[in-house]
Structure formats: structure tokens, C-alpha cells
Symmetry: C2
Subunit: 301 residues, 2 copies
């Protein structure tokens, strides 16, 4: 698998096991798709599917998902704690290997157009695929939810990027778009002083003058007697882990505080770790092709 794109659709069904299984099976049955995970939350009444493949496989996977979900989910009777506007609520496309954000933007447009045409569901492009700044943030797009979408879409500001000018009767509308892989990364400081973690979070986050692709806040780890700079790395290719780590170290030094450790919460692409190794070992001409496991993944064709 030379190209790996991750797709993480959220569907508005988190209780009915038979429906969730049927929808997952539809995705799993697509040639070239690997379904890695299905997480359901009953109180949210929502499930998140994680699958990967190259562009054509992911496209086919999303279409299979819509086909299965639209016949099983009716938002008119849907109740759950999580805000939603569609049976298939949001479909993010994330480049992992051999693909760029730009290519995933193109893919989201292509798949969005096809979804609108084939299923009559209005499609809103969001995040990197957004057609205007107003549509970049998912919360803004989703505002009003399923119940308010007929009214919302009457405003020309909220005409869809693809598809009909009104929501689908049972399936509502969907947000689709490309975004970079998000790494949850925390750095632990050898102090109980939360104000230091807060100050460092402020120093590194985009909002207050820091790195473009960093969100951060200070958190107390009472049980360990430490504080933590809790970070969302929203684009590890452009703002890499090692650069943020070194910046935090420098800021912590200035307070006379050591870095006790750091942690990656959940998944990371291998590339993020290769970049750190490459930086600190000062590797020249390094390529992921030199990694044995890369060859194994490619062998599959």
C-alpha cells in the first residue's frame, strides 16, 4: 500500500449493534479498504469508523458507507447527546503516507460530488476543503443541527457545496473535508506549579503567538505531583514534535523546571517519530523507504 489515506467517518448510530455491524461490514467489504476500528458511544448515539486505503479505495469505502447508513439511520427519530446534522455526520480525509493534504482536499471534493449526486444528500466542505473561512470550523457548519437545517439552508450563506438546496428527509446533510493527522502529545514538568504549565502552553500555542499547528493548555497531574502541557499537534509535518519539545524544554529551563517525560496519547503515524529521530540524530538523506516495515506495507501493492 504505497498511498495511505485515513478516513474517520462519524455516523449517527451508537446503540443498535445490528445496524452498526452492517454498516461496518459494508465498509470492510470494499476491496483495498482496511477497517481498523469501530468505536460506538451509546449516550452520544454515535459511532466512529476508522479505515484506510488509497484514494480510489477510500472513495469506494465512503460510498459503501453511505449506501449502508442511509438505509438504516433515520435522523427524524434519532436522539443523542452529541450534536449532529446527518446520518453520516462528518467524513474527514487524512493523509498518512504518499499523499498530501492538497490531494485529500481534491479527494473530498470528488467524493462529495458523488455522494450528493448518488444519494441526494447536501455536502458541506469543511476544514482544509472549506470553500470559505466561515465553513472551516465543523461546529459552525453543524450549528442548528438536523432539526434546524431546513431553516439554516434557506440562507444563501449556507447553500451546500454539492447537492440539493435542502436537507435529505431522513439523512440530513454531511460535512466532508481534508485535515492533517492530529497527534495528542503531552509534556510533563517536574513541578506542582500549574502557572508554569499554563505559561508554557501559552508560549507554544498558535492562539497566543506560538506555533501555527499547536493547541495547548496547562493541566494538573495531582496523583503524580506534576503539571502537564497538554498539546494537540494539528499538523505534525509542518509543526513537528521535536520542535515543540525543544521549545518547551527551553521555556521550562527558564523557570528552572525539568521535563520529566512526554507521552503520545493514542495513535501516531510512524513519520512523526521518524522526523524526531532524523532531527536529533542529524540524519542525512533519510527516507522512509529505508525502513523495513515500509517495504512490507508496499509489498502488498
Amino acid at each position: 500500500m504505497r498511498t495511505i489515506i485515513e478516513c474517520v467517518p462519524n455516523i449517527s448510530e451508537g446503540k443498535d449493534r445490528a445496524s452498526i455491524d452492517a454498516i461496518a461490514a459494508a465498509v470492510r467489504g470494499v476491496t483495498g479498504v482496511r477497517l481498523l476500528d469501530v468505536s460506538s458511544d451509546a449516550s452520544h448515539n454515535r459511532s466512529v469508523l476508522t479505515f484506510v486505503g488509497d484514494g480510489p479505495a477510500v472513495r469506494a469505502g465512503v460510498l459503501a458507507l453511505f449506501e449502508a447508513a442511509l438505509s438504516r439511520i433515520d435522523l427524524r427519530s434519532h436522539r443523542g447527546e452529541h450534536p449532529r446534522m446527518g446520518a453520516v455526520d462528518v467524513v474527514p480525509f487524512i493523509p498518512i503516507r504518499g499523499s498530501s493534504v492538497e490531494q485529500c482536499v481534491a479527494l473530498s471534493r470528488e467524493v462529495g460530488e458523488e455522494v450528493a449526486r448518488r444519494f441526494g444528500v447536501p455536502v458541506f466542505l469543511y476544514e482544509e476543503s472549506a470553500s470559505s473561512e466561515k465553513r472551516r470550523n465543523l461546529a459552525d457548519v453543524r450549528k442548528g443541527q438536523f432539526e434546524g437545517f431546513s431553516e439554516k439552508m434557506k440562507d444563501a450563506l449556507w447553500s451546500p457545496d454539492f447537492g440539493p438546496a435542502a436537507p435529505h428527509a431522513s439523512a440530513g446533510a454531511v460535512a466532508m473535508g481534508a485535515r492533517a493527522f492530529l497527534i495528542a502529545y503531552n509534556i510533563n514538568l517536574g513541578t506542582r506549579d500549574l502557572t508554569i504549565a499554563d505559561r508554557i502552553a501559552k508560549a507554544i500555542r498558535h492562539l497566543s503567538g506560538g506555533f501555527r499547528y499547536v493547541k495547548a493548555m496547562g493541566v494538573e497531574l495531582a496523583d503524580r505531583g506534576l503539571v502537564q502541557v497538554s498539546i494537540n499537534m494539528t499538523n505534525y509535518r509542518k509543526t513537528p514534535l521535536h520542535r515543540v519539545f525543544d521549545c518547551v524544554r527551553s521555556e521550562a529551563d527558564r523557570h528552572g523546571v525539568p521535563i520529566v517525560g512526554s507521552e503520545i496519547v493514542g495513535l501516531t503515524p510512524a513519520e512523526a517519530l521518524y522526523m524526531a529521530a532524523e532531527h536529533y540524530l542529524r540524519l542525512e538523506r533519510f527516507s522512509a523507504e529505508q525502513v523495513l516495515e515500509t517495504k512490507l506495507l508496499e509489498e502488498e501493492g
Copy 2:
């Protein structure tokens, strides 16, 4: 593929394309085996196959290799520049993931016993699998080569670990054993003074008091106006890249010389790079299971 063992058999045929292809096809045809590379050298009259799989798959791959090689290679008419004692000359087993050197030693013994029993070829265990220190070094085991092996094996010191007390008429004998993955790693210094690279090589190599799993020498890079510490990392799990890099940096500092860069020549297991990232980022509780690509490799079962 949860367990990945690499097997790199060397066979005494490097010219006859039909034979090489047939032997490669026999290995490729084994379920669970991935043949990653076949490199042939006509003047050596020798080919190196690289394949991976879990223990049972690698075992089946080696048996298929012997079956195909013994019917096509007759050492009585073999000429080539590279020393050799067998039609299948040497079979190294290398743990990559989910396997230890110890487990590969056990695998080499199991496969060696089966090869001896099924094909009547005497098997000598070498490297980590060696039954005595005298047999650890492949060059010592191979000394005398095919033509001298009848005589050599009359000495009780050179009775085989498995199989008959005399070489196979056409296939000679084979060395089999476990060894760690070897990473070729070079560190470039910002000076033209070769004596500094030599001194640092001496400081880090096992032979002269350095790290247990490091071989190193100084090399001149005339075209770049630099010198290089050229390193073979013979066990990156026990002597990791980052520890050697930091030691070289410290020694270079003492000479007032900067590290310009480093390079990995050829392949590396992903783990070696994860270990460097883990070290420098001070990662806590990191596991390769957190890497998305690991999940992809495991999905295949």
C-alpha cells in the same frame, strides 16, 4: 503480521537466471512468506534472498528453498570468487518484531534439524546459535570450503550440529544461525583530520573498550572535505543509535569538532528509529502499537 523474522539465505548460484528465478519462486510460493529482495552477483556466483514471515512461515520458506536449490545447484561444478561450503551456504535468522534473538536461536535449531533430516545436509550452527565459541564466526565455520569439507569434517572438532558426518555430495554443508539486525550507520565530522575520526571510532568500538555491539573505523570523505566514523551497529536493541550518537558528539566536542550529520546506509527496522525518538522526546509508556502502520501490518494477521 505480529511476528516478523527476517531470513537472508545465501545460495551458490549467481549466474543462471532460470535457476535463481525457480528458487525464488519456491520461496515466494510459501504461504505467509514475503520475498522482499533477490540480489545476484555473477562474479561471486552467489545470490542473497531476503524474505520475512513469522516462525512457521520462515521455517517453511527455508525448507522450500533447500528443496529447490538442491535440485538445481551442484557445487562440484561451481566456480565463483566468494568462499562457500554449500549449495545453500548460510541461512541467518534475524528478529525484527515480536521475536527475540533467543527465539530465533530456537528456530534455527529446529529448522537445522529438519534440513539435516530431510535433505541429508550437515548443518553447522553459527553466530548466536553456535554450540561453541569456535563456531560463532562464519569465516571459521566455512574455512576449507566445499572442496575441503570432507577432510575438515573428519576432525571431531568439526562434526556437524545436525546431520551426517560427511558433506552432501553435491550440496556440501550449511551454516545456520540467529543474529541481530545489522544497521550500517555513519557519523560525519566537520573536520579533514582523519586522526580524530580514528580516535572516536576507537572510543566507541567494542574491540578497544567501547560499546558491546559497535564496530567502527575512521574514513576520509575527500569529496566533502570531511571525515566519517563508519559504524556497524550489530545489535541496535542493546546498543541503540542514540547512545552511540551522543557518545560520538561528546568525544567530538572534546576535539572542538561538530557533527555535520549522520546516515543510515540501507535498511533499518522502524524500532531503531522509534527508540531514538523515544529517547530524545523522553516518551513515557510508548509502544509500537501506537503507530498506525503497526496496526496496518498486524491487520494482515
